[in-house]
């Protein structure tokens, strides 16, 4: 507990110092608009949707429309990229995030001046030895490493720290991977896919892979716990891979025949909005996916897409 307190204090000092420098710096520079950019409707969009391109090309376009990676990653920062690597399946099955997208994101982080980029996932199968297999089979381990990321393990309890979640209705406390607590920037990179028991797995559901005991979610109240976790930590950026969208037999998937080629990418810093939009890309009304509604009710984000500033782009269209 003591350790955590000192860590929080340090974090607070660091953050307030950084904010102070940023504010002061921008005034000196004479462009204070950047601080209030969100207020302007023509400024940063709430959500960017790109279509009809390869995963990396779509990401290049989307992050440009979001205002560039430099807006999210500052020089010398540590970044955590959290893809969905939950099953030992090939990318064609659509059960895991597209490796090319992960690679592209890592490259952009370094391009923005990141000091270190970590990639990890606590895979769905809790049996020992599966994590390695998932990293390998999904192609993400290799792809992330080739872009210079540190592929960290998530399959040991020693990496996790207990945290409490104020305001949670079900998941009052859980153990979170230390990288989530330590990284300056947290980028959530889920894949949009079918899920037998929650209807869909997107961005909020993907955060189940940063805690140690995911079965606690299942035994408490799966959807409420998924929403509750976002009270503890909201990713700085959510990048939803909807290139190949598994339509049936999720989350594990069956064969490539059950995958629809949607070639879509969604980027937002509002985790509820991005889930609502992705849900529509899948072909389901977001109201049916209970955790999206719960997230909206907890004020984690806005699921009413018509209230948001959405920018759309169709490559070659």
């Amino acid at each position: 507990m003591n350790k955590l307190n000192s860590k929080e204090r340090r974090e607070f000092l660091k953050k307030s110092l950084a904010t102070g420098v940023a504010v002061g710096g921008s005034f000196l520079w004479g462009t204070p608009e950047i601080l209030f950019a969100k207020a302007a409707s023509s400024g940063t969009p709430d959500l960017v949707a790109v279509k009809n391109g390869e995963p990396d090309a779509m990401f290049n376009q989307a992050i440009f429309m979001m205002g560039g990676m430099k807006k999210f990653v500052k020089k010398g920062q540590t970044v955590l990229v959290k893809p969905n690597i939950s099953f030992a399946r090939k990318p064609e099955i659509g059960a895991t995030t597209n490796p090319l997208l992960v690679k592209s994101i890592v490259a952009h982080c370094f391009g923005a001046g990141a000091k270190k980029v970590y990639v990890f996932d606590n895979v769905a199968s809790s049996s020992y030895g599966m994590a390695q297999k998932c990293y390998k089979e999904s192609g993400i381990g290799e792809a992330a490493k080739s872009a210079g990321a540190l592929v960290a393990p998530g399959d040991n309890e020693k990496y996790y720290q207990k945290v409490t979640i104020p305001g949670a209705k079900a998941l009052v406390s859980t153990e979170v991977h230390e990288l989530v607590l330590e990284a300056d920037v947290f980028i959530n990179v889920p894949i949009l896919k079918n899920h037998h028991y929650t209807y869909q797995s997107i961005a909020m559901k993907n955060l189940m892979g940063v805690v140690w005991d995911r079965m606690k979610y299942h035994s408490l109240d799966l959807e409420q716990s998924i929403a509750d976790f976002c009270l503890f930590k909201k990713p700085d950026l959510n990048i939803v891979d909807a290139y190949r969208v598994m339509q049936r037999f999720g989350p594990r998937g069956s064969t490539p025949e059950n995958v629809a080629l949607k070639k879509t990418l969604l980027v937002s810093n509002d985790i509820v909005a991005v889930d609502a939009a992705a849900s529509k890309v899948y072909g389901m009304e977001p109201e049916k996916v209970r955790y999206i509604q719960l997230g909206h009710d907890l004020n984690i984000g806005n699921m009413n897409l018509n209230e948001l500033n959405i920018r759309r782009h169709v490559i070659g269209g």
Binding site: S126, M130, Y197, F249, K262
Partner: protein, 509 residues
Amino acid sequence: MNLKKLRITISTTVFILFVLAFQGDEKISTTLSNTLLYFQFTPSLLQFIHSRGHLLGLGFLLLLLASFIFGRFYCSFLCPLGILQDIFIRIFRGSRKRHAFQRSYRLVPYCLLVLTVVTAILGSFVLVNLLDPYSLFGRIAAHPFKSLVLWINNMMVNVFEQFDIYALMVRKQHYIPFSILTVSIGSFGIVLAFSIISGRAYCNTICPVGALLGIVSRFSLFRFVIDKKKCRSCRSCEGVCKAGCIDIDRLEIDPSRCVACFNCIDACQKTALNYQTQLAILSWGRWVPSKRSFLVSTAAVSGTFLAALFPIRLSPLEAMQRRQIPIIPPGSNSTAHFMQHCTACHLCVSVCTTNVMVPAYLEYGVCGIMRPKLNYLQGHCDFDCNACGQVCPTGAIAPLLLQEKKLTQIGTVSLNKAKCIVYVKKKHCGACGEACPTHAIFPVEKGLVLFPEIDLDYCIGCGACEHACPTKPKAITVTSKIVHSKAQKYVPSASTVQPAEKSNKGFPF
């Protein structure tokens, strides 16, 4: 060529390979299992008996033939337990403490051999599992040795992680029941004590393989012979003979106890000792049938037979309830097949990628002491893995092709709806459904809640659901199948998935 040096080179290599085989790397273990374990006596013998014509059985025939020619070279060149003892002897006795001629207690190893064979024929593998030198070594390598290696590995991971190096991964120790650890460390201790006190006495008094090869070696073509004209009785050879089989007073070497280590030839300065062809001189005649030894022999032999019948009666598998019968790995076919083959070497335990394979102690009854089973509290049987069958040297777990394995039913699942979260709380869970690799568990929507249901035709009993189930005790459990069967292959109904949407360029929001 110095035969002693050759022996040391070969045996050291073999030993290192054996230790490596038990470190749990699937590729290394499979390769070594197909080469090195080909020439392990008991596994190969079991293959030879149960599946005549099987290539692995050939290894046994070759070994037997080679022993008729070269004597007990197996004990010095190929037996991992023998080599382990040689290492102990080298470390703890060095060259200071000299060996001496030992009296032969022939009755003990032969009675043990007969007892082992008879109990095995009657269906109890208790002595085979306990005494087979390869399996005995396997348990030492798979538990204490591997634990040590993993501990070193995990310490290194801790150090490397400080420097952001993730080349090594934390490796988790497989579950070892205390009883199994006691037996492995205990047998390790016994072998250690034997080798320090009296060289290869274990191999010549307890080991049934040693006893059998000893009988064969009495008739071997090549043997160690002392040239009576050249020998000055300096006792150099006796001092280095680990088996204690050189009788300098009679200038004779007991071929049934000699393990062909070539130490004596190296030690003899007068070249009075030779490894040469010599026809066997049958010395049965020396046995003088005194009243006392006749009584002892009769008592021993009849005791052997009576004792052989005894272990069968102790908790046989047939008397067990179905729920208690352990789940055996895919490829082991049926409990009966598994009971006739496995020697409890635990190579499968060390190689299992998910650590689901654990050694049981008496769960198969005394007959099947220390055999492995699947424990779904420890893990689940990975759908895309068939490692255990690939490494098993006895044929207890037959090697299955991955597509065969994926349809092999080793158990049957059952869902207790009185405990299941979804049925009790009417809240989504899906832990079992998302783990199920075969579509045996599927969702049924009733009033906006998705309930899990089971289709047994597709269930292979891999335990992914049981391992994942968050309730305590588990709501979904797997019971073993006495005889494995074939599951149906899941064929999804016609796909409703839209193909690539090239025409639709807009967004649904």
